[in-house]
Protein backbone atom coordinates (compact mmCIF):
# COMPACT_ATOMS: atom_id res chain seq x y z
CA UNK A 1 0.00 0.00 0.00
CA UNK A 2 2.82 2.35 0.91
CA UNK A 3 4.53 1.51 -2.37
CA UNK A 4 1.34 2.50 -4.22
CA UNK A 5 1.03 5.84 -2.45
CA UNK A 6 4.73 6.54 -2.99
CA UNK A 7 4.27 5.81 -6.66
CA UNK A 8 1.18 8.03 -6.90
CA UNK A 9 3.00 10.85 -5.09
CA UNK A 10 5.68 11.02 -7.85
CA UNK A 11 8.28 12.47 -5.49
CA UNK A 12 6.00 15.40 -4.68
CA UNK A 13 5.31 16.12 -8.34
CA UNK A 14 1.96 14.34 -8.63
CA UNK A 15 0.27 17.59 -9.71
CA UNK A 16 2.62 17.76 -12.72
CA UNK A 17 2.87 14.14 -13.84
CA UNK A 18 -0.68 12.79 -13.53
CA UNK A 19 -2.49 15.69 -15.25
CA UNK A 20 0.06 15.44 -18.09
CA UNK A 21 -0.65 11.74 -18.63
CA UNK A 22 -4.37 12.33 -18.11
CA UNK A 23 -4.60 15.09 -20.74
CA UNK A 24 -2.64 12.96 -23.20
CA UNK A 25 -4.92 9.97 -22.72
CA UNK A 26 -8.05 12.14 -22.91
CA UNK A 27 -7.01 13.81 -26.17
CA UNK A 28 -5.80 10.64 -27.92
CA UNK A 29 -8.69 8.45 -26.80
CA UNK A 30 -11.13 11.27 -27.56
CA UNK A 31 -9.74 11.62 -31.10
CA UNK A 32 -9.87 7.87 -31.69
CA UNK A 33 -13.45 7.57 -30.42
CA UNK A 34 -14.61 10.61 -32.43
CA UNK A 35 -12.95 9.29 -35.60
CA UNK A 36 -14.50 5.83 -35.20
CA UNK A 37 -17.94 7.26 -34.50
CA UNK A 38 -17.79 9.50 -37.57
CA UNK A 39 -16.73 6.48 -39.63
CA UNK A 40 -19.68 4.35 -38.51
CA UNK A 41 -22.11 7.25 -38.87
CA UNK A 42 -20.98 7.78 -42.47
CA UNK A 43 -21.16 4.04 -43.20
CA UNK A 44 -24.79 4.04 -42.06
CA UNK A 45 -25.59 7.18 -44.07
CA UNK A 46 -24.04 5.70 -47.19
CA UNK A 47 -25.96 2.46 -46.74
CA UNK A 48 -29.23 4.44 -46.60
CA UNK A 49 -28.36 6.48 -49.70
CA UNK A 50 -27.34 3.41 -51.70
CA UNK A 51 -30.51 1.57 -50.71
CA UNK A 52 -32.59 4.56 -51.84
CA UNK A 53 -30.74 4.64 -55.11
CA UNK A 54 -31.66 1.02 -55.79
CA UNK A 55 -35.32 1.61 -54.97
CA UNK A 56 -36.53 4.10 -57.58
CA UNK A 57 -38.94 6.60 -56.00
CA UNK A 58 -42.30 7.18 -57.64
Amino acid sequence: MEAVSTFLDMGGYAATVWPAYGVTAAILIGLLVASLRTLSRRKAELAVLEAQRERPRR
Binding site: F7, M10, A20
Partner: protein, 245 residues
Protein backbone atom coordinates in the same frame (compact mmCIF):
# COMPACT_ATOMS: atom_id res chain seq x y z
CA UNK B 1 8.99 4.14 -56.21
CA UNK B 2 6.90 6.71 -58.15
CA UNK B 3 4.82 3.84 -59.58
CA UNK B 4 4.14 2.52 -56.09
CA UNK B 5 3.12 5.99 -54.92
CA UNK B 6 0.91 6.50 -57.95
CA UNK B 7 -0.71 3.11 -57.36
CA UNK B 8 -1.58 4.25 -53.84
CA UNK B 9 -3.77 6.88 -55.45
CA UNK B 10 -6.46 4.27 -56.11
CA UNK B 11 -9.16 4.32 -53.38
CA UNK B 12 -10.00 0.63 -53.86
CA UNK B 13 -6.37 -0.35 -53.37
CA UNK B 14 -6.15 1.95 -50.37
CA UNK B 15 -9.17 0.23 -48.72
CA UNK B 16 -7.57 -3.19 -49.17
CA UNK B 17 -4.27 -2.05 -47.67
CA UNK B 18 -5.99 -0.17 -44.82
CA UNK B 19 -8.21 -3.11 -43.87
CA UNK B 20 -5.20 -5.43 -43.85
CA UNK B 21 -3.02 -3.10 -41.77
CA UNK B 22 -5.49 -1.72 -39.20
CA UNK B 23 -6.01 -4.74 -36.91
CA UNK B 24 -2.39 -5.54 -36.20
CA UNK B 25 -1.32 -1.86 -36.19
CA UNK B 26 -3.91 -1.17 -33.47
CA UNK B 27 -2.59 -4.00 -31.32
CA UNK B 28 0.99 -2.89 -31.94
CA UNK B 29 0.21 0.72 -30.96
CA UNK B 30 -1.46 -0.34 -27.70
CA UNK B 31 1.40 -2.70 -26.90
CA UNK B 32 4.18 -0.20 -27.60
CA UNK B 33 2.52 2.74 -25.84
CA UNK B 34 1.44 0.58 -22.89
CA UNK B 35 4.95 -0.83 -22.44
CA UNK B 36 6.64 2.55 -22.86
CA UNK B 37 4.32 4.30 -20.42
CA UNK B 38 4.51 1.58 -17.75
CA UNK B 39 8.29 1.47 -18.10
CA UNK B 40 8.60 5.25 -18.00
CA UNK B 41 6.26 5.73 -15.06
CA UNK B 42 7.27 2.80 -12.94
CA UNK B 43 10.66 1.39 -13.90
CA UNK B 44 12.85 4.25 -15.04
CA UNK B 45 14.96 6.40 -12.71
CA UNK B 46 14.04 9.89 -11.55
CA UNK B 47 16.27 12.69 -12.82
CA UNK B 48 19.03 13.83 -10.45
CA UNK B 49 17.85 17.46 -10.80
CA UNK B 50 14.20 17.30 -11.86
CA UNK B 51 13.14 14.28 -9.84
CA UNK B 52 9.99 12.55 -11.05
CA UNK B 53 8.86 15.44 -13.28
CA UNK B 54 11.17 13.93 -15.90
CA UNK B 55 8.52 11.25 -16.46
CA UNK B 56 6.50 13.82 -18.42
CA UNK B 57 9.25 13.46 -21.04
CA UNK B 58 7.93 10.03 -22.06
CA UNK B 59 4.79 11.61 -23.50
CA UNK B 60 5.88 15.19 -24.16
CA UNK B 61 8.78 14.30 -26.47
CA UNK B 62 6.97 11.65 -28.56
CA UNK B 63 3.99 14.02 -28.92
CA UNK B 64 6.33 16.77 -30.16
CA UNK B 65 7.99 14.35 -32.59
CA UNK B 66 4.58 13.36 -33.95
CA UNK B 67 3.46 17.00 -34.19
CA UNK B 68 6.23 17.76 -36.68
CA UNK B 69 6.17 14.35 -38.36
CA UNK B 70 2.45 14.65 -39.06
CA UNK B 71 2.94 18.09 -40.58
CA UNK B 72 5.72 16.79 -42.84
CA UNK B 73 3.39 14.00 -44.03
CA UNK B 74 0.59 16.50 -44.55
CA UNK B 75 2.86 18.82 -46.56
CA UNK B 76 4.06 15.95 -48.78
CA UNK B 77 0.47 14.82 -49.37
CA UNK B 78 -0.54 18.39 -50.19
CA UNK B 79 2.34 18.80 -52.66
CA UNK B 80 1.36 15.48 -54.24
CA UNK B 81 -2.24 16.70 -54.58
CA UNK B 82 -1.21 20.03 -56.08
CA UNK B 83 1.26 18.47 -58.53
CA UNK B 84 -0.45 15.21 -59.58
CA UNK B 85 -4.06 15.96 -58.59
CA UNK B 86 -4.39 12.69 -56.63
CA UNK B 87 -7.76 12.99 -54.88
CA UNK B 88 -6.69 10.51 -52.24
CA UNK B 89 -3.77 12.79 -51.29
CA UNK B 90 -6.26 15.62 -50.68
CA UNK B 91 -8.44 13.38 -48.48
CA UNK B 92 -5.41 12.08 -46.61
CA UNK B 93 -4.13 15.60 -45.87
CA UNK B 94 -7.56 16.57 -44.50
CA UNK B 95 -7.58 13.42 -42.40
CA UNK B 96 -4.14 14.20 -41.01
CA UNK B 97 -4.52 17.74 -39.68
CA UNK B 98 -6.75 17.02 -36.63
CA UNK B 99 -4.30 14.28 -35.65
CA UNK B 100 -1.37 16.68 -35.90
CA UNK B 101 -3.27 19.36 -34.03
CA UNK B 102 -3.97 16.87 -31.22
CA UNK B 103 -0.32 15.85 -30.88
CA UNK B 104 0.74 19.52 -30.94
CA UNK B 105 -1.79 20.37 -28.23
CA UNK B 106 -0.47 17.47 -26.13
CA UNK B 107 3.12 18.67 -26.62
CA UNK B 108 2.21 22.25 -25.63
CA UNK B 109 0.08 21.31 -22.60
CA UNK B 110 2.42 18.65 -21.20
CA UNK B 111 5.36 20.96 -21.86
CA UNK B 112 3.65 23.73 -19.93
CA UNK B 113 2.88 21.40 -17.01
CA UNK B 114 6.51 20.27 -17.04
CA UNK B 115 7.83 23.82 -17.27
CA UNK B 116 6.05 25.12 -14.19
CA UNK B 117 8.04 23.15 -11.58
CA UNK B 118 11.28 22.95 -13.58
CA UNK B 119 11.55 26.41 -15.19
CA UNK B 120 9.27 28.24 -12.78
CA UNK B 121 6.93 29.32 -15.58
CA UNK B 122 3.97 27.93 -17.56
CA UNK B 123 5.10 29.65 -20.74
CA UNK B 124 7.93 31.60 -22.27
CA UNK B 125 8.15 33.16 -25.74
CA UNK B 126 11.34 31.39 -26.71
CA UNK B 127 11.95 30.18 -30.27
CA UNK B 128 11.03 26.53 -29.69
CA UNK B 129 7.75 27.13 -27.87
CA UNK B 130 6.71 29.97 -30.18
CA UNK B 131 7.41 28.02 -33.38
CA UNK B 132 5.44 25.01 -32.06
CA UNK B 133 2.54 27.31 -31.17
CA UNK B 134 2.69 28.60 -34.77
CA UNK B 135 2.56 24.94 -35.90
CA UNK B 136 -0.63 24.51 -33.87
CA UNK B 137 -2.21 27.54 -35.56
CA UNK B 138 -1.17 26.21 -38.97
CA UNK B 139 -3.04 22.98 -38.22
CA UNK B 140 -6.12 24.93 -37.14
CA UNK B 141 -5.88 27.06 -40.28
CA UNK B 142 -5.62 23.93 -42.42
CA UNK B 143 -8.72 22.44 -40.77
CA UNK B 144 -10.65 25.71 -41.20
CA UNK B 145 -9.74 26.08 -44.88
CA UNK B 146 -10.63 22.45 -45.64
CA UNK B 147 -14.12 23.04 -44.30
CA UNK B 148 -14.65 26.64 -45.39
CA UNK B 149 -15.74 26.24 -49.01
CA UNK B 150 -19.00 24.73 -50.28
CA UNK B 151 -16.91 23.37 -53.13
CA UNK B 152 -14.69 20.82 -51.37
CA UNK B 153 -12.18 20.92 -54.21
CA UNK B 154 -11.45 24.62 -53.68
CA UNK B 155 -11.12 24.17 -49.94
CA UNK B 156 -8.75 21.27 -50.53
CA UNK B 157 -6.57 23.33 -52.84
CA UNK B 158 -6.41 26.29 -50.43
CA UNK B 159 -5.57 24.03 -47.52
CA UNK B 160 -2.90 22.26 -49.58
CA UNK B 161 -1.19 25.56 -50.40
CA UNK B 162 -1.22 26.55 -46.73
CA UNK B 163 0.30 23.18 -45.79
CA UNK B 164 3.13 23.59 -48.32
CA UNK B 165 3.91 27.19 -47.40
CA UNK B 166 3.80 26.42 -43.68
CA UNK B 167 6.39 23.66 -44.12
CA UNK B 168 9.10 26.32 -43.73
CA UNK B 169 8.24 26.17 -40.01
CA UNK B 170 9.57 22.62 -39.69
CA UNK B 171 13.32 23.39 -39.96
CA UNK B 172 12.68 26.48 -37.80
CA UNK B 173 11.22 24.27 -35.06
CA UNK B 174 14.04 21.73 -35.38
CA UNK B 175 16.90 24.25 -35.30
CA UNK B 176 15.27 26.85 -33.05
CA UNK B 177 17.23 25.56 -30.05
CA UNK B 178 20.51 26.01 -31.98
CA UNK B 179 19.84 29.25 -33.85
CA UNK B 180 18.43 31.17 -30.86
CA UNK B 181 19.17 31.35 -27.16
CA UNK B 182 16.26 29.28 -25.85
CA UNK B 183 15.02 28.25 -22.44
CA UNK B 184 13.92 24.97 -24.04
CA UNK B 185 16.80 22.53 -23.98
CA UNK B 186 18.73 21.41 -27.04
CA UNK B 187 18.42 18.07 -28.82
CA UNK B 188 19.29 15.01 -26.73
CA UNK B 189 18.24 12.23 -29.09
CA UNK B 190 18.41 13.23 -32.75
CA UNK B 191 21.94 14.63 -32.78
CA UNK B 192 24.89 14.22 -35.11
CA UNK B 193 26.94 12.64 -32.29
CA UNK B 194 24.15 10.33 -31.17
CA UNK B 195 21.88 10.51 -28.11
CA UNK B 196 23.17 11.96 -24.86
CA UNK B 197 20.35 10.45 -22.85
CA UNK B 198 20.94 7.37 -20.70
CA UNK B 199 19.57 4.01 -21.95
CA UNK B 200 17.37 3.61 -18.86
CA UNK B 201 15.43 6.62 -20.13
CA UNK B 202 16.08 6.29 -23.86
CA UNK B 203 14.37 2.91 -24.20
CA UNK B 204 10.96 3.82 -22.76
CA UNK B 205 11.15 7.07 -24.73
CA UNK B 206 11.76 5.28 -28.03
CA UNK B 207 9.06 2.70 -27.30
CA UNK B 208 6.46 5.38 -26.65
CA UNK B 209 7.73 7.32 -29.65
CA UNK B 210 7.30 4.34 -31.93
CA UNK B 211 3.91 3.58 -30.34
CA UNK B 212 2.71 7.13 -31.05
CA UNK B 213 3.91 6.74 -34.63
CA UNK B 214 1.91 3.54 -35.12
CA UNK B 215 -1.10 5.21 -33.45
CA UNK B 216 -0.76 8.05 -35.95
CA UNK B 217 -0.96 5.49 -38.79
CA UNK B 218 -4.05 3.87 -37.23
CA UNK B 219 -5.81 7.22 -36.76
CA UNK B 220 -4.87 8.35 -40.27
CA UNK B 221 -6.17 5.18 -41.92
CA UNK B 222 -9.46 5.37 -40.00
CA UNK B 223 -9.91 9.02 -40.93
CA UNK B 224 -9.04 8.50 -44.61
CA UNK B 225 -11.62 5.69 -44.81
CA UNK B 226 -14.08 8.17 -43.31
CA UNK B 227 -13.17 10.87 -45.85
CA UNK B 228 -13.66 8.42 -48.72
CA UNK B 229 -17.16 7.70 -47.43
CA UNK B 230 -17.91 11.42 -47.07
CA UNK B 231 -16.83 11.95 -50.67
CA UNK B 232 -19.10 9.12 -51.88
CA UNK B 233 -22.03 10.45 -49.81
CA UNK B 234 -21.56 13.90 -51.33
CA UNK B 235 -21.56 12.44 -54.86
CA UNK B 236 -24.77 10.48 -54.21
CA UNK B 237 -26.50 13.46 -52.60
CA UNK B 238 -25.61 15.69 -55.54
CA UNK B 239 -26.84 13.04 -58.01
CA UNK B 240 -30.09 12.72 -56.07
CA UNK B 241 -30.61 16.50 -55.95
CA UNK B 242 -29.95 16.96 -59.68
CA UNK B 243 -32.15 13.92 -60.46
CA UNK B 244 -35.07 15.56 -58.71
CA UNK B 245 -34.53 18.97 -60.27
Amino acid sequence: MPNFLHSLASPARFQRIANAVLPWASVLAIGLIGTGVVWGLGFSPPDYQQGDTVRVMYIHVPAAWMATFCYAVMALLSASFLIWKHQLADLAARAASPIGASFTAIALITGSLWGKPTWGTWWVWDARLTSVLVLFFLYLGHMALSAAFDDRERGGRAAAILACVGAINLPIIKYSVEWWNTLHQGASVFRMDGPTIDNSMLWPLLLTGLGFNVLFVVLLLVRIKSELLARRIEVLQRARASGRG
